[in-house]
């Protein structure tokens, strides 16, 4: 089980240290860790599970903050990593973001949270709702309140009822004047197009995100028009398994507020909404590059926030790139980004220019990979559609809102 958790800033400073067992883990481990991670050319390349001479370290990096956990015994690695991810999520929600200043300003709260989330190395609860009942978030209201009333205790004096209830994710009896629930389908398209322009892989990872504000203990059921297209699904603990197994209906008592009801994967899609066609021709020490972007299968909604990014190979001395639409930027680290925005109806955006190679190099051997980003509001490209959402137990009316959104995920085009 975990012995210690450290929070490190992006300069390697120990911002917080939480010892979990009787065997203190010396801080020097952080110095060791930091030496290791700066010796890596790219901090992203550091493995999440590493062995130091004395401990096994798990690390999760969020917004420049490293969550580092140490252990000396065998344990499920995913448990440690998942836990650290949850800690990061909870802190993010509590502090309204994650950065060095926020953590340093609120370190008492962070300690309090860690105290309730893990004891003696065993994770206890990471449900935000339960934690919020035990430790009030440092929001503006409570800050104002504390100034006015002079009592600034951010600890609620009641224990959460939910810890004992059968629906641990839900706080007892929230009350709302307006009952409303919003369901968002958020999809990310991962695609790989190889050098020959063939779509070798295309799949969608989607989530059903729900924001629920309903009085009492509502029992909801959500169904899709075409659940059969889903390849694999994962559920929030609130989802009952049997109705899904027999009728593909999501039956659940929702947590209060924002949560991820379900995530799913749809494989083997045949089409991408846009095409990106890079072309590179080398001759006599220079390389001519042109990239064409356009709509391939019109989804019927506007495609916007289109970006194309790629890393110039290190053997390129200079690049001169222009586009007929959008803005081309070449950053210091040889990252070239072309932000197109919305694809115009009348012309296909293109970027072209020349790359000057290192002296002595005749032609280019290393070819960049183009990463494409886009966003389509109002449609889930997997084709998944919500059929209906019903409220069973509670008799009153409530407002239902549905939205859909598709983004480019790991969408890459090789050249």
């Amino acid at each position: 089980m975990l012995q210690c958790i450290f929070l490190l800033s992006d300069s390697g400073e120990v911002m917080l240290e939480k010892q979990l067992s009787g065997h203190r883990v010396d801080r020097s481990i952080c110095a060791w860790f930091w030496d290791q991670s700066i010796s890596q050319p790219d901090s992203f390349k550091q493995q999440p599970v590493i062995a130091s001479p004395t401990h096994y370290l798990f690390q999760v990096l969020r917004e420049g903050i490293t969550f580092l956990a140490c252990t000396q015994v065998e344990m499920p690695p995913l448990m440690a990593i998942e836990f650290l991810c949850r800690v990061a999520d909870v802190l993010n929600d509590y502090l309204g973001g994650l950065n060095e200043d926020l953590i340093k300003d609120n370190f008492v709260i962070v300690y309090e949270l860690l105290d309730e989330m893990i004891d003696n190395g065993f994770p206890l609860t990471t449900e935000l709702n339960i934690l919020q009942e035990m430790i009030a978030p440092p929001n503006i209201v409570s800050k104002v309140l504390s100034v006015v009333t002079g009592s600034s205790s951010n600890v609620s004096d009641t224990l959460p009822g939910a810890t004992a209830s059968l629906v641990p994710w839900r706080t007892a009896d929230p009350k709302y004047a307006n009952n409303e629930i919003y369901v968002d389908l958020v999809e990310e398209m991962d695609a790989t197009i190889n050098r020959d322009g063939v779509l070798v892989k295309c799949e969608i990872n989607g989530e059903v995100q729900v924001n629920s504000h309903i009085t009492g203990l509502p029992d909801l059921s959500l169904s899709f028009k075409n659940p059969s297209i889903l390849d694999d699904v994962r559920f929030h603990p609130c989802v009952r398994y049997r109705p899904w197994e027999s009728d593909q209906i999501l039956s659940f008592v929702p947590p209060d507020g924002q949560f991820k009801l379900m995530s799913y994967r749809v494989r083997k899609l045949k089409n991408t909404p846009i095409y990106v066609k890079p072309q590179l021709t080398s001759e006599g020490g220079t390389c001519r590059l042109s990239v064409l972007v356009g709509i391939k299968n019109d989804p019927g909604k506007t495609i916007d926030s289109v970006t194309v990014e790629f890393q110039l190979p290190s053997c390129i001395l200079s690049a001169d790139l222009t586009s007929n639409h959008g803005v081309v930027n070449i950053l210091g680290n040889k990252t070239c980004s072309w932000s197109i925005g919305r694809i115009p109806k009348d012309k296909a955006p293109s970027m072209s220019g020349t790359l000057v190679l290192e002296t002595g190099l005749e032609r280019l051997h290393v070819f960049p990979t183009f990463q494409v980003g886009f966003r389509i509001m109002g449609i889930a490209l997997s084709g998944l559609q919500i059929d209906k959402l019903d409220l069973k137990t509670v008799p009153y009316r409530f407002y239902k809102g549905f939205r859909a959104l598709t983004r480019g995920g790991e969408f890459e085009v090789r050249s």
Binding site: R24, D26, P53, L78, D157, N194, R265, P313, V366
Partner: protein, 845 residues
């Protein structure tokens, strides 16, 4: 009132401390506030506490404020309390005397009306971890376990575990485990139940090495009623507690197949849990349960495929890496099941290289007739990757697939394309591969040689690639026009060749070339042999000398030796043994999978048992050169301190029973123990393990061989060594018990018993009298046929040192298991021999 400027808002937040002067500053301020009851005092206290804690957080030693902090701790403000608890918990260990001051207010808080405060106080009380304060813990813990609030009970249960780690005897004497056992099965709150499970597992695992009863208790955790009770409630548990329960279920052995299916049906939906840790723990249960049922096991693979692949593609990069390592393990075990999912293992551009590496290995593994073409096409794209190590790996992967025999035709073309890519590292890797390929498929030599012939040896720098090229030049010199001349020019540059491997290959290649094309090569051969003979590298020199003598003796014999007709290699040796792979598989959902090593190779067993020397290790200066020298010494120290658990290296090899996952092969043990945490896991170098490991291993192996191979009853009994026992030794039962608990197991062995012995062992008493005649007294015995259990003791003549023996005899298997504990470790072997000889004479007329 005007709103305060934003600047002042920030002032209570931790400003950068300036060091010593600030600490003394804080000290005086705290003093002033200590007795103050003035309104607003709490606010100023809170600011001060915050400053103190922020100093502590940054790493400045503020332990000198301990007294003042405790004085200020009399407050009703819960935030202040929490900060105070935090501070006290951090520094109590270094200030045991002052910690006593805090006991009072913590104990009072443990009786507070508010369950939150009761819980917090109890948690802090147990977190003080000061050994001489444990007496104050027992009372509050006892109340806490019976508290009517689940939060307090939850804290108290973990508190028991904390107490156990501070002082095991106090914890056992207070008999908290009985209460935990009750709570485990009866508490309405699942978190309490989960904590009980965690605590009991840890306590009994640690206790079981010394106490039979604890071992039995640990077994009951795995009994059907307990497991079923937990399984039936599993949906009520928090996701983390579910992981714990699933971990337990994975160890459960169902009595029949229908039970297996029941459990799997019950847990089926856990595979769709949002928490990856739960999913992986469930997968482990499924895999373990079905190990013996091949067809169902297969279905399980099919079933878990989708959840695993989803886990990989969703989630953060860290999570996906951990899942990917597990997927990697499964793919390597059953590649055919994943062969249609090969596209999931395609590398994404901005994945970290360790992920790409795993994926490349999986791509290699899942390649079969139907997908080879696509996989190889994909791999070839990576050869132009920006990341050079990955480019290399992918070329190697292409080669490996080629060696798997699928669609070699297309692959050879690709490899030859690599050779023409004019990138030095690509050429190098491809050369090595072409060489391996030719060894397996000599029929491709024509095509390959044509391309290889065009490569100028000057463009190849890497030793491995150069060696490969030279090998081909020698092997196919009759087909390559200018082979002798290329070799000759290489020989001319002998002195510039730094790699001994290349020079060795060069010698051999020139020899081979000589046999095929003598007139053209003669000159080069002479030069090579001359250069080789004067080479400073021993191997090169020896080989040159060997060739020279061989040629002198008989040229045709030399040809037979150096250049015999080649046989195609059918299988290249696998690097990892299947036994190791199996062991990693058994440890599914653990660190072993991530490191691709069974945990005995990297987790020190001491750590699994107890955290005893974690502190020292933590304070070690972590420098590379000190590692090897420090760790063995430390082990000795740890062993001395930690007799309770019997951690000397010898015991571990001998005592398969004392540790849940002990290994029977002594050589494994020897290498595992020292490798411990000191090893950078990347390469387990056996040379370093030798430093502390070799001596005991050697003797151990021999001992074990002797002990196991000589049937004690029939063969000549080992002559009793010169160890004399006191025939009238006395030891009262309580003293025996105490000793048994204190001492470590010094020997643990298994022997077979002669048939006559078994026949005579109708009642325990028969053996008692017999052993008594050999001056070995029995203190307790019991059991019924076929299982008997005895506790013996003996005393060395004219010395106080005692030997304690636990002996379990199974008459149906004619085996006896013996555990010996001794005051005097050195004579333990001798005593063991004596004991055996006495035992072996049992039943003989």
């Amino acid at each position: 009132m005007a709103p305060p400027p934003p600047q002042s808002n920030r002032s209570p937040s931790p400003s950068q401390p300036s060091g010593k002067s600030e600490v003394s500053d804080l000290k005086s301020q705290l003093r002033q506030l200590a007795g103050s009851r003035a309104p607003g005092a709490d606010d100023s206290k809170r600011d001060l506490f915050k400053k103190v804690i922020s100093n502590m957080t940054i790493g400045i030693d503020v332990s000198s404020l301990f007294g003042e902090m405790v004085m200020c701790s009399a407050t009703s403000d819960i935030v202040l309390k929490k900060m105070c608890y935090l501070y006290v918990g951090n520094y109590a260990k270094v200030n045991p005397d002052l910690a006593l001051l805090t006991i009072n207010f913590l104990q009072r808080d443990c009786k507070d009306e508010d369950p939150m405060i009761r819980g917090l106080a109890l948690r802090s009380l147990c977190s003080l971890r000061v050994a001489n304060l444990v007496e104050y813990l027992v009372g509050p813990l006892g109340f806490g376990l019976k508290d009517n609030n689940n939060y307090v009970r939850m804290v108290a249960v973990i508190g028991v575990l904390k107490l156990y780690h501070i002082s095991a005897s106090t914890c056992m004497d207070a008999d908290f485990t009985t209460i935990l056992k009750h709570l485990l099965l009866h508490d309405p709150d699942t978190q309490v139940v989960a904590n009980c499970l965690a605590a009991l597992q840890e306590i009994w695992t640690l206790e079981s090495s010394t106490s039979e009863e604890a071992a039995r208790e640990r077994e009951t955790l795995l009994s059907k009623p307990v497991v079923y009770y937990l399984l039936n409630r599993i949906k009520e548990f928090s996701e983390w507690a579910q992981c714990l329960v699933l971990e337990l279920v994975a160890k459960y052995i169902p009595s029949d197949n229908s039970e297996i299916f029941d459990i799997m049906n019950l847990l089926e939906d856990r595979l769709q849990h949002a928490n990856g840790a739960v999913v992986l723990a469930t997968i482990k249960v499924f895999l373990q349960l079905t190990l013996s049922m091949a067809d169902v096991h297969q279905q399980v693979y099919e079933r878990i495929k989708a959840p695993l692949l989803t886990q990989v593609s969703s989630g953060s990069p860290e999570q996906s890496y951990a899942v990917l390592s597990h997927l990697h393990l499964l793919v390597m075990r059953a590649p055919y099941i994943f062969s249609s999912d090969y596209k999931h293992f395609y590398c994404q551009y901005n994945e970290p290289s360790y992920v790409k590496k795993l994926k490349l290995e999986m791509l290699t593994a899942v390649a079969n007739e139907s997908n080879t073409y696509e996989i190889v096409t994909e791999l070839c794209e990576y050869a132009a990757n920006v990341d050079i190590p990955i480019a290399r790996e992918s070329i190697r992967a292409v080669g490996k697939i080629a060696l798997q025999q699928y669609d070699v035709n297309a692959i050879v073309d690709r490899l030859l394309q690599f050779l023409e890519m004019e990138k030095d590292y690509v050429t190098s890797e491809a050369l090595v591969l072409v060489k391996d390929l030719l060894r397996k498929y000599p029929q491709w030599s024509q095509d390959c040689i044509a391309v290889v012939g065009n490569i100028s040896s000057k463009n190849v720098q890497e030793p491995k690639a150069k060696a490969a090229l030279i090998w081909m030049l020698g092997e196919y010199s009759q087909d390559m026009q200018d082979a002798p001349y290329v070799l000759e020019s290489l020989v001319e540059n002998w002195d510039e060749e730094h790699s001994a491997e290349v020079r060795l290959h060069l010698l051999t290649a020139v020899m081979k070339c000589f046999f095929k094309r003598p007139p053209e090569t003669q000159k080069a051969l002479g030069a090579a042999l001359a250069a080789g003979l004067s080479d400073f590298h021993q191997d090169v020199h020896d080989r040159a000398l060997f060739y020279y003598r061989l040629l002198q003796y008989n040229v045709s014999v030399a040809e037979k030796v150096v250049s015999p007709p080649k046989q195609a290699v059918s299988v290249f040796a696998d690097t990892q043994s299947s036994e190791i792979k199996d062991r990693i598989f058994d440890e599914f959902n653990s660190l072993s999978v991530v490191y691709q090593k069974p945990s005995y190779m990297f987790i020190d067993k001491e750590h699994r048992g107890t955290f005893e020397f974690a502190d020292e290790v933590g304070n070690l200066s972590i420098s590379a050169e000190s590692r090897e020298s420090v760790v063995p010494a430390q082990r000795v120290e740890a062993n001395d301190k930690d007799l309770l658990l019997g951690t000397s290296e010898k015991d571990e090899g001998r005592d398969p029973g004392s540790n849940g996952s002990a290994y029977n092969a002594p050589s494994l043990n020897g290498s595992s123990a020292p490798s411990a945490t000191s090893q950078p896991l990347a390469d387990l170098a056996f040379t370093t393990t030798g430093i502390s490991g070799q001596a005991p291993v050697a003797s151990l192996a021999i001992d074990d061989l002797l002990g196991l191979s000589i049937p004690v009853g029939t063969a000549a009994t080992p002559s009793p060594p010169p160890l004399n026992l006191n025939p009238k030794a006395v030891l009262d039962p309580s003293a025996f018990q105490q000793k048994w608990r204190q001492l470590a197991i010094s020997l643990s062995e298994e022997h077979s018993i002669s048939p006559q012995g078994i026949a005579a062992l109708t009642t325990p008493h028969a053996l008692l009298r017999h052993m008594q005649s050999h001056s070995i007294q029995c203190i307790a015995s019991g059991g019924q046929s076929p299982n008997f259990k005895f506790f013996f003791f003996a005393q060395k003549a004219e010395a106080a040192s005692m030997y304690l023996v636990e002996c379990i005899i199974n008459t149906s298997s004619a085996k006896s298991q013996i555990k010996i504990k001794a005051d005097d470790q050195s004579s333990c072997q001798a005593f063991s021999a004596l004991f055996q000889s006495a035992l072996s004479k049992f039943g003989l007329p």
